[in-house]
């Protein structure tokens, strides 16, 4: 008798990279920012990140596994990405009770509440992974900003190990050198102050092919170009050389400060909520960067990145539809 074999459609080999592999690799790429955050902000950071990460995993686990098995707690990695991103985008004050005048419960509940909103409303209300139109971490962040505006803009560098002398972020007008911005010893959100750590993670993601340069490239490119335009209109420089150096200073400042890099590398590149055609990805990236810098210059809203990315998320389906590529051999 002859042996019967497995049959099925071609191709008969598949890439070993499945969803879990990719998502956990994104978590790996966030490790430098996590470490930087703990070095710079101390225990406040460790507490906030653990709370947001574990609660995100917990809510995902509740929804996804019908009969919750402990082994399934870590899930496919997508909730871990959301929880970690959310935690890294919160101000250090959310981890320290002292920072809001002695209230014990509220600040610690903040990361948990944020994760609940991110996972339950941002993701599963729309049908779960792959179906959500908006980046869940930003939905969570947006919710917290609206609900706890003072807390969410309290940049008191509580519990820091490294000396950051002022409570205002560089974007709020305090001077910080480009070097300080680069390594991250300035006030700001837990995981967003160290440009260096974010860039290391970004290079890793590009190298592994998990993100396309078009989104961060368009995002940061738009910010750089607009920084130069803005400098030009401000007119406080002498000659071409003066313009170039003033413009460069401004561009570097804009890119390195606040949540620009976090947004460009990790938030805007979220697969589910960004477009799938190459051209649309570039346009989408540019759109995010442009909206962010326009808000910074002209609107002074505290959550520029959240608005910018969520707005472009909404445009994603349209962008895809308008940019269907010319197929091979097609004469357009």
């Amino acid at each position: 008798m002859s042996k019967k074999f497995v049959v099925g459609p071609s191709p008969h080999i598949r890439s070993p990279r499945d969803i879990d592999y990719i998502m956990w690799d994104v978590v790996v790429a966030l490790v430098p920012a996590t470490i930087a955050s703990i070095i710079i902000f101390g225990w406040a950071s460790a507490i906030v990140l653990s709370l947001s990460l574990i609660s995100a995993l917990f809510f995902e686990w509740l929804v996804v596994s019908r009969k919750p098995k402990i082994s399934a707690f870590l899930g496919d990695g997508s909730a871990a990405v959301t929880g970690l991103l959310l935690g890294l985008s919160l101000p250090p004050a959310t981890g320290m009770m002292a920072s809001i005048g002695g209230s014990w419960t509220l600040p610690w509940a903040v990361p948990i509440l944020g994760s609940a909103v991110a996972i339950l409303i941002g993701k599963h209300a729309f049908g779960g992974l792959g179906k959500n139109p908006f980046n869940p971490a930003l939905v969570g962040r947006g919710f917290l900003t609206f609900s706890y505006l003072t807390l969410m803009t309290n940049w008191e560098p509580t519990g820091t190990f490294v000396d950051t002398t002022t409570g205002a972020t560089p974007l709020q007008g305090e001077a910080a050198t480009l070097w300080e911005l680069f390594i991250g010893t300035v006030p700001g959100s837990l995981g967003e102050t160290s440009a260096l750590a974010l860039i290391i993670g970004g290079i890793y993601l590009l190298y592994k092919g998990h993100i396309d340069w078009r989104i961060p490239g368009g995002f940061l490119g738009a910010m750089v170009v607009f920084s130069f335009i803005h400098t030009g209109f401000a007119g406080e420089f002498e000659g071409l050389v003066g313009f170039l150096s003033a413009g460069l200073d401004e561009a570097l400042f804009q890119v390195l400060s606040g949540s620009a890099l976090m947004g460009a590398i990790y938030m805007a590149t979220c697969y589910v909520t960004s477009p799938t055609t190459k051209n649309a990805r570039l346009i989408y990236g540019i759109g995010c960067g442009l909206i962010l810098i326009l808000i910074r210059y002209y609107a002074q809203a505290p959550a520029g990145l959240t608005y910018a990315v969520l707005f472009m998320n909404a445009l994603t389906p349209i962008l895809d539809r308008l940019t269907i590529p010319r197929t091979f051999g097609e004469v357009k």
Binding site: S2, K3, K4, F5, V6, V7, G8, P9, S10, P11, H12, I13, R14, S15, R17, D18, I19, Y21, I22, D76, S78, G128, L129, G130, K131, D212, Y271, V272, T273, S274, P275, T276, T277, K278, R281, I324, P325, R326, T327, F328, G329, E330, V331
Partner: protein, 430 residues
């Protein structure tokens, strides 16, 4: 070295090392062959022999009926024991008697004669599709062929037979190319080889020395570099129009093994009744390259290569990207289009559960035809065929890059293929 390429494509694990260094062996004659009357494309042949008749190796036993068809020949000498609509069964007499047809020299024959020889010898494309070569050589009314491209890319993972043919018989490959050029009236010939085949590059390079009408082009190692349209794009930088054929850009593409077979037909008077294949995979005892007679059962070929390992789980006729999974070794026979037998193990074929699309765009970036496999598959699944056709459903070459890359393991090319089939059958009904 120069590496020409095309946009899109993937870098799967090649696994060529299992067999790439193995010299081509010749398999002992099987006791019996079962020769299918229809070998993949075109109309089936009309049998020329009847039960009880004695035949010799290379004797024509089936005549081509339709235009897009090629005759078939006996691959052994012996007695015809069965003839039905589908196949002719011949029992070997063990002599393997062969009387070659008249051998010719390429210099002294006309282009018409080359086409005639190719037709009589039953030469078809040996890369997989088995399209009759004599049909390809005639340009349709109003079109002109100026370039012949030989596909030596062998971009399917695991397969190494074309590589070995180029290494071991470079002269034949080049002769075959010259014959194709003469028959089509082309003035320029190219042989495209991927950079992972340095020995083939060297051998072919030596064989074409001093001949300015033929050029060796080294190609980036990328799947599907050997796809007709991708090869033309890489070598000539021309795009075959949507729905068109290579001849629309003045070229003909043929496989290196086909060229060698054509050279054999001209210079040795030998019809196409045997071919080299790669028998490989982690599920086979002795992976190798081997010449087998058309009509041999897969079972005998596998046995000649040491047999299956205990963990063998899936057998594929052809390569892993575009080949066909078969369910039994007994009633599957080597045809002119069989390029390999690949045996995968249990570990390699573990079933994976399909998940939802996470819109990662890996399929979009991989598609060598610049399509949107994510949308095409979703539309096909939801039977939204109008939308799928607007996104050029029929320009898909079914290379499988999209399915390979998808982290959610969505069977994209399968869904697209089903979509195409449904649309075609709807159109046929109208």
């Amino acid at each position: 070295m120069e590496k020409r390429s095309f946009k899109g494509g993937i870098h799967p694990l090649y696994n060529k090392e299992l067999s790439e260094k193995k010299q081509i062996d010749v398999m002992d004659d099987p006791k019996q062959v079962v020769i299918p009357l229809q070998q993949h494309i075109g109309a089936p042949c009309e049998p020329l022999v009847s039960k009880g008749e004695q035949v010799i190796t290379g004797q024509k036993i089936g005549e081509a009926k339709g235009f897009v068809s090629a005759p078939i020949h006996s691959s052994i000498s012996g007695e015809v024991v069965d003839v039905n609509e589908e196949r002719i069964t011949i029992k070997s007499d063990g002599d393997n008697r062969f009387e070659p047809k008249e051998a010719r020299s390429l210099k002294e024959i006309s282009s018409q004669e080359i086409i005639e020889i190719a037709k009589e010898a039953g030469i078809v494309g040996m890369g997989g599709a088995a399209f009759p070569t004599h049909v390809k050589m005639k340009a349709p009314e109003g079109k002109k062929i100026d370039t012949v491209i030989l596909n030596g890319a062998e971009c399917e993972p695991y397969l190494t037979i074309d590589d070995r043919i180029m290494v071991e018989q470079p002269q034949k490959v080049v002769e075959g190319l010259k014959a194709l050029m003469k028959a089509t009236g082309a003035t320029k010939g190219y042989i495209g080889i991927e950079l992972n085949k340095p020995n083939a590059i060297e051998a072919i390079g030596n064989a074409i020395q001093g001949d300015s009408s033929v050029e060796l082009v080294t190609l980036e190692v990328k799947y599907p570099q050997g796809g007709e349209k991708q090869l033309i794009k890489a070598i000539l930088d021309k795009e075959v129009p949507v729905g068109g054929l290579p001849v629309d850009v003045g070229s003909v593409v043929s496989n290196v093994s086909t060229a060698a077979a054509l050279a054999d037909a001209i210079e040795e008077g030998k019809p196409l009744y045997e071919r080299g294949i790669t028998v490989t995979g982690n599920g086979i005892e002795k992976p190798q390259n081997i010449i087998v007679k058309v009509g041999t059962t897969f079972k005998e070929v596998v046995e000649a290569c040491g047999g299956l390992k205990d963990n063998a789980a899936k057998v594929i006729s052809g390569g892993p990207m575009m080949g066909r999974a078969i369910d039994s070794l007994d009633d599957e026979f080597i045809t002119k289009g069989t390029s390999g037998i690949l045996v995968l193990t249990e570990d390699e074929v573990r079933l994976v559960e399909e998940r939802t699309c996470i819109r990662c765009a890996r399929c979009v970036d991989a598609c060598p035809m610049s399509l949107m496999p994510n949308y095409l598959a979703a539309y096909s699944r939801k039977e939204m065929f109008k939308e799928a056709e607007e996104l050029h459903l029929f320009n898909c070459i079914e290379c499988g890059c999209c399915s390979y890359m998808c982290p959610s393991k969505i069977p994209l090319v399968h869904l697209i293929r089903q979509g195409k089939a449904e649309v075609s059958s709807k159109k046929a009904k109208k």
